[in-house]
């Protein structure tokens, strides 16, 4: 392992984050607050409690996941796409580093950013609602794993994309629908029969379910199924990254 390499990559990515820390943290805080005003207070007051949890509290895990997933993908995809775009990736390719050092540096930094943003949203939520956290350690672990695996996914998108338009495409066309239809703001038990069956093919459902469980101790799908889904998704992303560096796909000519 070339540790200094991982360290400088990680530090450089975090420095980029620090330069824009206000924007990076303020915007999720504002959008979270807006969600609370609209869904929690305006609409939520007319929605009855879900599984005995007020609607305002119920949407908190969904809000965190929504932001953490989109931030992870956009941060990690940009972080690797940018050097590819301007050509400075030559340095990574000609340095004595393997894909492990590169991925840990880039994906690690993107994941840490997402975790910080997730925690900031959680703190913001406390300003609006009483929020029990049934399993705090599991909650944090799930936050970390989600940040990591979607940063990994974003890293792949960043290498796959041929331009900045493609970079926006996947989050827009794939992620946003999956997240919104993944039970971020409702329990999938609320869906009518056939839609519930369809929802079971959405990986975000499994993630949302277990994450909400860490707060309220109730889940839509069995915990084991959720953990398995997360493991499979992360494993797939790892395998793709390994393959990319082995074959040089879209990075080495």
């Amino acid at each position: 392992m070339n540790f200094p390499a991982t360290r400088v990559i990680f530090q450089r990515e975090m420095a980029r984050f620090n330069r824009t820390i206000i924007e990076s943290l303020i915007s999720p805080v504002i959008s979270t607050s807006l969600y609370f005003v609209v869904f929690g207070a305006a609409i939520g007051s007319r929605i009855e409690a879900v599984d005995g949890v007020t609607y305002g509290a119920f949407i908190v895990p969904g809000l965190i996941m929504l932001t953490v997933i989109t931030q992870s993908v956009s941060n990690a995809s940009f972080a690797i796409h940018f050097p590819k775009f301007i050509g400075s990736i030559y340095e990574l390719l000609s340095a004595p580093v393997s894909y492990r050092e590169i991925v840990i540096g880039y994906v690690g930094a993107a994941a840490v950013k997402s975790i910080l943003i997730g925690l900031v949203i959680l703190l913001t939520a406390y300003l609006f609602v009483d929020l029990p956290i049934a399993h705090p350690i599991a909650m944090f672990a799930l936050l970390a794993v989600t940040s990591f695996s979607f940063s990994l996914f974003g890293f792949i998108i960043g290498i796959w994309a041929k331009d900045f338009q493609q970079l926006q495409l996947i989050p827009l066309l794939v992620l946003t629908p999956l997240i919104f239809l993944g039970g971020s703001f409702y329990s999938i038990d609320m869906l009518p029969g056939i839609w519930r069956t369809i929802a079971m093919f959405n990986p975000v459902v499994y993630l949302m379910s277990v994450f909400r469980w860490s707060f309220f101790a109730t889940a839509d799908v069995p915990i084991a199924a959720s953990l398995l889904a997360i493991a499979v998704f992360t494993g797939l992303c790892l395998a793709v990254v390994w393959w990319i560096f082995r074959t040089g796909w879209r990075i080495r000519q």
């Binding site: 070339n2 540790f3 200094p4 390499a5 360290r7 400088v8 990559i9 450089r12 420095a15 980029r16 330069r19 940018f82 050097p83 301007i86 050509g87 400075s88 030559y90 340095e91 990574l92 390719l93 000609s94 340095a95 004595p96 580093v97 393997s98 040089g248 080495r252 000519q253």
Partner: protein, 308 residues
């Protein structure tokens, strides 16, 4: 001298199907300065990129310091510094940080004193806190060189270091190259400026259409391939070369005030003596004689013509 870079049957065919390198063989000796000369599109960048890990070779192998650049890439790349042809830098990074980053990437512990020395050597120290985007083109190229030197490489590749660079930077760069050579660093530079090869190289390789046409000691090459020209100045200008001198393939100088005779230094009889005699018998009055050695440029152009 042992070779530090060893290239065997290296072939590269790009995905487009274009064959950029055709079974290249090349041994680069430790401590030498090798200039790879070739026109645009000859495959110089491809060759360097394949050695440094940016391009995947289609077949063949390369070793640096005895380490295969694919199988044993860490050990091989530890030794290599690369200054790419294009200016490819993170725009918002500060100069000092950019150079420190490169050092870390090569697994070296931070060493601000060393980075300072490199920056001073390249006249970048005053700019250490400037963002790269705010630098001029020449300064950016200096940053690229500083990044390549940040881990004290044993083999330095300079891809077209003089392209679009002012005279001052070119001179600075040559002096850096001379310093590095004094420290025993092996330097490979590509260029299509022949003066550059002529000025600093120990050996010259000529590459065209993905093939190495020759690699030779610069001085020996100029001696072997070199042709000399004899210029004979005349008292009375000539309109045409007299029939009697047709055998010598003389050229007329400006305004016909001289004739130029090209001869091969290698050949047993250069023909100078008989030419002078024949000139006199043709009734021409000579006022002066001078000779000129052909430059690397003439040799190079000659070689490429031969190719066609």
């Amino acid at each position: 001298m042992p070779s530090i870079v060893s290239i065997r049957n290296l072939t590269k065919t790009y995905k487009s199907g274009f064959g950029a390198l055709q079974s290249v063989n090349l041994e680069i000796e430790e401590g030498e300065i090798l200039a790879l000369l070739g026109p645009n599109g000859a495959g110089k960048t491809t060759l360097i990129s394949a050695i440094c890990g940016i391009v995947q070779p289609t077949s063949g192998s390369v070793s640096v310091g005895g380490h295969d650049v694919v199988r044993d890439f860490r050990a091989a790349r530890d030794l290599i510094g690369l200054v790419p042809q294009e200016i490819t830098l993170e725009p918002f990074e500060k100069v000092f940080n950019a150079v420190s980053f490169s050092r870390g990437l090569f697994g070296k512990a931070p060493d601000p004193a060393y980075v300072e020395r490199v920056l001073r050597q390249l006249s970048l120290w005053d700019k250490r806190d400037s963002k790269i985007v705010a630098l001029s083109g020449g300064m950016k190229r200096r940053v690229l060189i500083a990044k390549a030197l940040a881990h004290a490489p044993r083999v330095l590749f300079l891809d077209e270091p003089s392209a679009g660079v002012d005279v001052e930077l070119r001179k600075d760069m040559w002096s850096v190259v001379a310093d590095l050579k004094a420290q025993g660093v092996t330097i490979i530079l590509t260029t299509h400026y022949i003066e550059e090869a002529e000025a600093i190289a120990d050996r010259v390789g000529v590459i065209n259409k993905g093939e190495i046409l020759l690699v030779e000691d610069k001085a020996a090459l100029m001696r072997r391939m070199g042709q000399k020209q004899l210029q004979v100045d005349l008292a009375e200008p000539l309109l045409v070369v007299p029939e009697a001198l047709a055998n010598y393939a003389l050229e007329l100088g400006p305004e016909g005030r001289s004739v130029i005779f090209t001869y091969d230094t290698k050949s047993e009889r250069t023909g100078i003596v008989t030419l002078l005699t024949d000139l006199r018998s043709a009734g021409l009055q000579m006022t002066d004689l001078s000779t000129r050695q052909s430059s690397l440029e003439d040799i190079f152009v000659g070689l490429l013509k031969e190719e066609l």
